[in-house]
Amino acid sequence: MALVSVSHLTRIFDVSKPWLNRVIERQPKALLTAVSDVSFNIEEQTVYALVGESGSGKSTIGKMLVGLLEPSTGSVDIRGVDLARETDAQKIDDVRADIQMIFQDPFASLNPRWRVRDIIAEPVAARGGHTKGLSERLLEQVGLAARDAGKFPHEFSGGQRQRICIARALASEPKLIVCDEPTSALDVSVQAQVLNLMSDLKDEFGLTYLFISHDLTVVQHMADKIGVLYLGRLVEEADPDTLFETPKHPYTQMLLAAAPQLDGFGREVIPPTGEIPDPINPPPGCAYNPRCPLAADICRTKRPELRQIGTSRVACHMVDATD
């Protein structure tokens, strides 16, 4: 059974003005659909990556997975427990202990007034666990020194701070770690160190990652399965080799063509047209249709379902025609 099973997950944010303004200006409520009917499974000890541009809903899905946000409709089942609907407090507690998160900005996600020892032990201490020597051991596991436990976060560089964040995430011995852009704030040589560390720890502790990123090359390096998001919808899901060699959805094809390549000397890219549409008023039918070179009438009226095509799942009406 899959460790995480996400089905028909939808999250709607109310971004309306205050009600009095709405009444006076006669405006309807403004509802922003950040995530719309997304379903996928994460198998145990694999890395599932979500890629997409800003506003595609990838971080919102991550937050719903760890329980920082509640789904509007749909469900997230982790080991068969739906955190939003489960009533047995003991079960919720057990599952919660299995989930940890690593955030993008290591300067904002560590309390500047706490010593590293307390920061790392907090997930265990909060549950009344035994924390003696824990931080020191974890620090050595992430490539820092045990004596660093007495220092404060400002004494570390960005890459070292991200290592502390990883150590903290490991403290409660989780099964699932949600990594929200863990290396976006880091330089490329430091990014390589952190990515290698994350791969090693995954093998050592049998971890499962949900890896959220906008960087296609990083995702390709890390993931076992990749889900491509566009305007809150899952448009394609495939393993990295299939996705990068034969992208099926026109949006994925556009993303791959637009990504800068290290060997693309003087490459003349035909730049993609348009930008992500307004999520408050998404286009009818397929969300990508205003920018899509293949768009036909059906794309403007009917939203495509995610269909199994070969080893991939693709949400596009035209994909058979292009094969």
Binding site: H221, L255, L262, R267
Partner: protein
């Protein structure tokens, strides 16, 4: 032909209570007309500091300690106040990373464009407005005639960066300094902005200093590349040579640590350690504590210069072409 920009032995100092920091040390490079020079390096390598020195935007107490900067053959590094202000915008355009903070949120974008043109060009208000609309059309803003009266917040991030580029180009400068112009943007928008910069500079023969940390952007956009490490030039050469057969071990390490499609899921090469802080720079070559090829003479002062490896890499023991082939 005189290069558009010529930097010669530029050194920037920041005096502090604990001694003088040197974020840019003895850096020299030229940018020819119509050429795009990519400047890469990690955070703190001094790449932005060098760009700011050229346009005279160093924050005191940072100052140019020695060296010369020539723009179209005229020395500009000692210009002060009004002289520098006349140069900025007219001869050098600047594109910053964050398009929201580089536009005035209280002024319509048309007013910002006409203000720049009226300050530098001898034209009438109505001509300036016409040229503002033309400039917006040129950078690919749909409905430019209407959008000219919009405020910056009414544009998306990519559109704002287009406006900033229009602003940088409106007085037809001979040099553009683009400091991480696409870092805040999405991949598809980044491709649009890079294509736009390349097209405009080719059409007008504008020289560009493209400062970025993204090797992919450099590969696609730049003609030549300057790799910076700890305030010094590590390697300088044609982009294809530097990226495919790097001579400096740091460039080689950088390329190895970039995830690549062709390498699959093999472990990434890592450069051990981190860039030294400016107040604790090692003797000799600044890279030697992290360098796999370091030998005893790498600690000797003065450190290596570009002349030590075919005028391309500042290294006593560069990678030989046979090694990497």
């Amino acid at each position: 032909m005189t290069p558009t920009l010529s930097i010669h032995n530029l050194t920037v100092d920041i005096p502090t209570r604990h001694g003088t920091l040197r974020p840019v040390q003895d850096v020299s490079y030229d940018i020819a007309q119509g050429e795009i020079l990519g400047v890469v390096g990690e955070s703190g390598a001094g790449k932005s500091m060098a760009g700011n020195a050229v346009i005279g935007l160093l924050n005191p107490p940072a100052h140019i300690a020695s060296g010369e900067i020539h723009l179209n053959g005229t020395r500009i590094d000692h210009l002060q106040g009004d002289d520098m202000r006349r140069l900025r915008g007219k001869h050098i355009g600047m594109v910053f990373q964050d398009p929201l903070t580089s536009l005035n949120p209280l002024l319509k974008i048309g007013d910002q464009l006409t203000e720049t043109m009226l300050a530098h060009l001898d034209i009438s208000q109505s001509d300036a407005r016409k040229r503002a609309i033309a400039a917006l059309e040129e950078v690919g803003i749909p409905g430019a005639a209407q959008r000219v009266d919009s405020y910056p917040h009414q544009f998306s991030g990519g559109m704002r960066q287009r406006v900033v580029i229009a602003l940088a180009l409106c007085a037809e400068p001979s040099l553009i300094i683009a400091d991480e112009p696409t870092t805040a943007l999405d991949v598809s928008v980044q491709a649009q902005i890079i294509a736009l910069l390349k097209r405009l500079c080719r059409d007008r023969g504008t020289a560009v200093m493209l400062i970025t940390h993204d090797m992919g952007v450099i590969a696609e956009a730049a003609d030549r590349v300057a790799v910076m490490y700890a305030g010094q030039l590590a390697e300088l050469g044609p982009v294809r040579d530097v990226l495919t057969v790097p001579l400096h071990p740091y460039t080689d390490g950088l390329m190895g640590s970039t995830p690549l499609a062709s390498r699959g899921k093999a472990r990434l090469h890592q450069i051990p350690g981190a860039m030294p802080r400016l107040d604790t720079l090692p003797d000799g070559c600044a890279f030697h504590p992290r360098c796999p090829r370091a030998q005893a003479d790498c600690t000797r002062n003065p450190g290596p210069t570009l002349a030590d490896a075919q005028g391309r890499a500042a290294c006593f023991h560069p990678l030989l072409r046979e090694d990497v082939a």
